[in-house]
Amino acid sequence: MLKSKTFVKKTRSGGIMKIVREHYLRDDIWCGSEVCTECKQEETVLQKDACIESNLCSFPHYLLPDTNIVLSQIDILEDPLIKNVIILQTVLQEVRHRSAPIYKRLKDILHDKEKHFYTFTNEHHRETYIEREQGESANDRNDRAIRISTKWYSDHLNNTPTDKRLKVVLLTNDRGNKEKAEESGLLTYRCKKQDTSVTSVPQDETAVLTSNEITSSKVLFPEHLPLSRIQSGIKSGTFQQGTFRASRDNYLEATVFVHGEGDDSTEVLIQGLQNLNRAVHQDLVAVEILPLNQWVAPSSVVLQDEGPKEDDVTEEEEAELKSGPSGAASRKPTGRVVGIIKRNWRPFCGMLFLSQIKEATRHLFTPADRRIPRIRIETRQAATLAGQRIMVAIDGWPKHSRYPNGHFVRSLGSAGDKETETEVLLLEHDVPHQDFSQAVLSFLPKMPWNITEEDMAVREDLRNLTVCSVDPPGCTDIDDALHCRDLPNGNQEVGVHIADVSHFIRPGNAMDLEAANRGTTVYLTGRRIDMVPELLSSNLCSLRSSVERLAFSCIWEINDKAEIVKTRFTKSVINSKASLTYAEAQMRIDDANMNDDTTKSLRGLNRLAKILKKRRIEKGALTLSSPEVRFHIDSETHDPIDLQTKELKETNSMVEEFMLLANISVAQKIYDEFSECALLRKHPAPPPSNYDILNKAAKSKDMVIHTDSAKALADSLDAAQVDGFPYFNTLLRILATRCMMQAVYFCSGMDSDFHHYGLASPIYTHFTSPIRRYSDIIVHRLLAVAIGADSTYPDLMDKHKQSALCNNLNYRHKMAQYAQRASVAYHTQLFFKSRGILNEEGFILFVRKNAIIVLIPKFGLEGTVFFENKDKPSPKLIFNEEVPSLTVEGHSFNMFDKVKVTISLDASNVQHQKIRMSLVEPVISGVSVAPSEPEPEVKRAKLDR
């Protein structure tokens, strides 16, 4: 028999659609009971002696729960005592619609043969199917369907022989439903009664479970205030405005950075789902500070949202949160989010977390960034998307939803794939990496490109000079070249020639805007994301040897003591005689047999550089250290084969010295010319508290580090040596690096402090790498105007625009750095994946409450050795913050202690693979592990293929 089900639905595009489904009714749906003689069923589920020890129903009976009973009392239903239950299709569908986890549990019970739960497809049964009537709500209709089916069951079972007769008991907590059912002569009980009457179920369990009705339309979050009220609130001071930053470790905690007047910005702590009120990381929000007695301290627990709990508010976790350290001293201003001023949603990368219901179309998406909440998306292609990295955009966050709703944007490829992971890395760090648009490319010079007469007319012809470039091997974007020659008066002429990128990139065109947006070229392991199109970066601007190139030259006359006698800047044409690598240049200098012009020039440069460096260090410039690694990449598979730490040659510092000199000279020149709008770079001195860790570290070796000035710091770092521990000094320098502030670009008109702490220079800028940094392009333009080689344009002279540009450049530089680090980390992981487990020696860099951080000099790799383990009883830990030291089972760990660790890759979480380290030496029973065997040879052979 055919019926049609009609319903109206709203489509995603906002239209309204009438949907008609054919619905077939049948009369071969059996009741599933053993006692039934009418139904021609092959197997029965419900037993004939269905008897639960109950003082309410002493007769044998089947239970028939309604939807709310299943939703609220699923624990009772799971009890092995409860058997012979009829689950109606109506109930099953409603449960599925309202709570996926409970649906899953119910399905599990249904599959359990021991439980004797039977699904009766009443919606397709000819006698129990009902149509929704006029004025009847969907819920009422379902209740009626349940009653009709119960009625059918009791009538149906009445036809069996009297001695085996069974009854059907409808369970409902709905009073209205119960009354109606009793009117039609059905045996109905409220669940509470039924349960307490079941003698063997413990009393307290039932008490807990009778509460807690689940309603999907429950409002979880308070309403956001309208913008007008937020604005008036901010004006009157009741609300604060700030950037929302979610905590990486605890999804129920966040801080809001409130930007006050000038420098005093405060942090407001937000705790709990309700108070977070749907704000997402980086949103601009309005917060209300709670009264003082509600202030809390940031919790130290690590909490991660486990996801499938759906709408159950995580009360226990919130309780746990509050039980954190609550000493009055550690309390911080605490507030709650009252409204969102500006959302800062972007598409997020991550992976799909499949719903437990197989055919469901709603799934949770877990972003790679832990600070972003899970996002619920609707998709039919979940099965294909599982195991892939995908991008999802948030559409909105309704107040009754635990998670924001979003939609699938695109797939990036399968997780773990190198291409995909690099893409994720770039997207997550907001690195613009699309191919250059046609509009940008249209501003490239037409090939073949030649230097024209007009160019020659305004430029100095330096083609006859012996210019050469020194760069790392494989460098294609050569932006600097040098020359040095003797002058008749005994002084020397030194020239630094920088690629004249600003000749090609004219202000305001599409290429300029794109470069300004990108800010910097990003170097990842095995990939380079250019700031300017490749034609410029690797060809026309690159100062390759034996071709004529346009340059911006900075030429000094320097006397024997390396003092600058005269400085001039000019646009020029050069013809580089040689492109050398650092090693090649070094060899030329060292080889006494070589006496050509290039080599002589290099020697002259080297000699001057040494004097310059010495003088700079005397002034207090810091030589810091950070462990940097290079990968040897397999040319075919692009997998890392080996890694080595970067080593520095004399020629490195030779080039560096002249670049610094050029930068400082240019900085002075542009500042003299344009005191209001020069783009400079500063490095603020770190606050003394930053040095705490360095001081403690030195103290552990009985040394004192003076940190009152850069000079003092540099001197004490030089003096810090431990016999028989040559690496100590490097470690100390690594630590010192961590104490430093970020160097930033700024506009001279907007700031008064120009000092560069690290270089001990009163003024500094970036001039020497215009191919890979946009800041240098601006500096070139400023300098060109200063020497009358080019004309100015309004934006260049606008200090506010300049300042905004600086902010973008600083942001891009920071992100590029993070992306580079992440890329190195990813390749390190790949490397260790192919290497299996390694045993290495390392040094303790930091000591934490429950872990030590170990640096492996060989790989420049840093890792954490945890002493607490989830599934093991934690060893006895005593942490002394003063020293700092950590005593584990009697063995104390101090900074710089030498330890031996095993390194392996922990791939248990596909999204967050990490290097795992565990202690081998010193041996502490129950804590350290046995050293693993060196990796099998076979694996190696495979790799070398």
Binding site: F7, G15, I16, K18, Q134, E136, A138
Partner: protein, 291 residues
């Protein structure tokens, strides 16, 4: 238009019959053929009706969709017509044969029905200037046996009567954005007032007289015909002449008078019938296409 070949003798016979108010099938000049109406035929439309007039068979379906109101009338919805001349109706419609007729029919229907005097277009507006209901009226010709206009107009009136538009209401969220919310109850729907919807009466000039509901044979004897749309009050809302011949003013006047009389008489039983069918509700035995 579907035509039949009629011999001279037949023509004379028909002409003489009409002159004496006795047509070939026994009807008088102002009589319709047997008419059957059934509504709610197609479940996936919002309203539908099938009308059989003699052997002419038309099916009309109404779909309500959300759209943007026309800029000139921001507080009104509108109707769209499409007539599908299926080749089932007559072999002449095969290929693109029916397109021209379809266009002509839908244009006429648009003129007759899409105005505020026929249908309460204001009731189709959801939010002025932003959302309104657009009623897509699809006419499918299943069989042609003359007098298409009349059959179609009756079917449209019946289908509009049958149309149930889901009720929506606009809610405003906190950012001032409007969202359309749909009623949960499928029975909660809006009905159209079809009282003023006109019916079309086609009058064919046969000899010196004119007939309503001409068969194909009669049509072949006629030089020109007049289509008149008449409301239940007898108001003429549209008059159009179709066919190649000419009509003298006096006969046009006579035909209009007849049209008014016939049209007025057509409405009352039609409405009664529709209301009766409606009152049967779900108990009604559906006839469908095979009955």
């Amino acid at each position: 238009m579907a035509t039949v070949q009629v011999s001279e003798a037949e023509k004379v016979y028909i002409l003489h019959g009409v002159r004496d108010d006795l047509r070939v099938d026994g009807r008088g000049c102002e009589d319709y053929r047997h008419m059957e109406i059934e509504t709610d035929m197609v479940s996936n439309t919002d309203g539908s009706a099938k009308v059989t007039l003699g052997h002419t068979d038309v099916l009309v379906g109404v779909k309500a969709e959300m759209g943007k109101p026309r800029p000139m009338v921001p507080d009104e919805g509108y109707l769209e017509f499409f007539v599908d001349c299926s080749a089932n109706a007559t072999p002449e419609f095969e290929g693109r044969g029916g397109d021209e007729l379809g266009m002509e029919l839908s244009n006429t229907l648009y003129k007759v029905f899409n105005n505020r005097y026929s249908v309460d277009l204001k009731s189709l507006c959801i939010s002025p200037g932003e959302h309104c209901w657009v009623l897509y009226v699809d006419v499918l010709l299943l069989q042609c046996d003359g007098n298409l206009f009349d059959a179609i107009s009756v079917a449209i009136k019946a289908a509009l009567f049958n149309t149930k538009i889901p009720k929506v209401h606009i809610s405003e969220d906190e950012e001032g954005g409007k969202e359309i919310e749909l009623s949960d109850d499928p029975y909660d729907c809006m009905r159209l007032n079809v009282e003023n919807v006109p019916c079309i009466v086609t009058l064919c000039k046969v000899g010196h007289r004119h007939v309503v509901d001409a068969t194909l044979q009669e049509k072949a004897c006629s030089v020109a015909s007049l289509i008149i749309s008449v409301t239940h009050k007898g108001t003429v809302t549209c008059v159009r002449k179709v066919g190649g011949g000419s009509l003298d003013p006096e006969s046009i006047f006579e035909m209009t008078e007849t049209g008014k009389r016939v049209g007025k008489a057509l409405h009352a039983p039609l409405m009664a019938l529709l209301q009766e069918e409606e009152s049967l509700g779900k108990k009604r035995q559906k006839v469908g296409f095979l009955g």
